[in-house]
């Protein structure tokens, strides 16, 4: 299990190389990577604020829930904070399991919870000023399926 909250970029390939390796019971590895998108065409950067004392622990609790619920051989969560440019990686999740259903479900569960329960706040910096990203009702609703 690895949880990291960091301003630095991460290397997805390096993180996945060797993930779940050396175990004969891993048949499925799923990864998710979140990337800074520019929907308006006027965005310059995305700034991620977080709650330093709480973030690491909140993510670890979400990972614990996933591990309790699915039979996972390994999990990675890396979440960046600070100012990120368009196309930069914001965060990643990886799950290793015996079967694909568990690996997919656990990765989606982790994403749904990280989205609405990990203390991060996104602010868009654009040519026309700044604005806080508003949490979507559908992200809160997504938690209900678990």
């Amino acid at each position: 299990m690895k949880v990291s909250v960091q301003p630095e970029p991460f290397d997805l390939g390096a993180e996945l190389a060797g993930f779940g390796a050396g175990r004969s019971d891993v048949g499925a590895v799923v990864s998710f990577t979140g990337v800074v998108r520019d929907d308006s065409g006027a965005m310059e950067a995305l700034e991620l604020e977080h709650y330093p004392g709480m973030t690491q622990r909140a993510i670890a609790q979400i990972v614990d829930q996933a591990v309790t619920r699915w039979d996972l051989a390994d999990v990675i969560v890396i979440h960046r904070h600070g100012r990120l440019g368009i196309g930069e990686q914001i965060m990643m999740v990886a799950t290793a399991a015996r079967h694909r259903a568990a690996a997919f479900e656990a990765a989606e569960f982790l994403m749904d919870y990280l989205k609405s329960r990990a203390p991060f706040w996104k602010k868009e910096h654009g040519r026309d000023g700044t604005s806080w990203v508003v949490a979507k009702d559908e992200d809160e609703d997504a938690l209900k399926r678990w």
């Binding site: 909140a58 989205k115 203390p119 991060f120 706040w121 602010k123 806080w132």
Partner: protein
């Protein structure tokens, strides 16, 4: 009692500071919010709509009717937008 009160995202911007120490006798989060709103218009503005806010007590998500006994750190922020 003394509590550390932290503000994040637009709550921090609206109140104008990231954290402060407050001496309070508030029994619940709601009581603390009432005290803060009575202080100044910028607090009144930040806490105008509690449905747009979340609260954490000692770094665990909580509700506004939670008791404050033994709590040392209270954080107010908008719904989270991680991932």
């Amino acid at each position: 009692m003394m509590v550390d009160v932290l503000y994040f995202a637009w709550v921090r911007e609206r109140i104008g500071l990231p954290r402060e120490q407050i001496e309070t006798q508030a029994a619940t989060v709601n009581d603390l919010v009432a005290e803060l709103r009575a202080r100044e218009p910028r607090y009144e503005a930040a806490f105008a709509d509690l449905t747009a806010l979340r609260v954490a007590l000692d770094q665990e998500l909580a509700t506004f009717d939670s008791p404050l006994a033994d709590v040392r750190e209270v954080a107010f922020f908008p719904p989270m937008t991680g991932g």
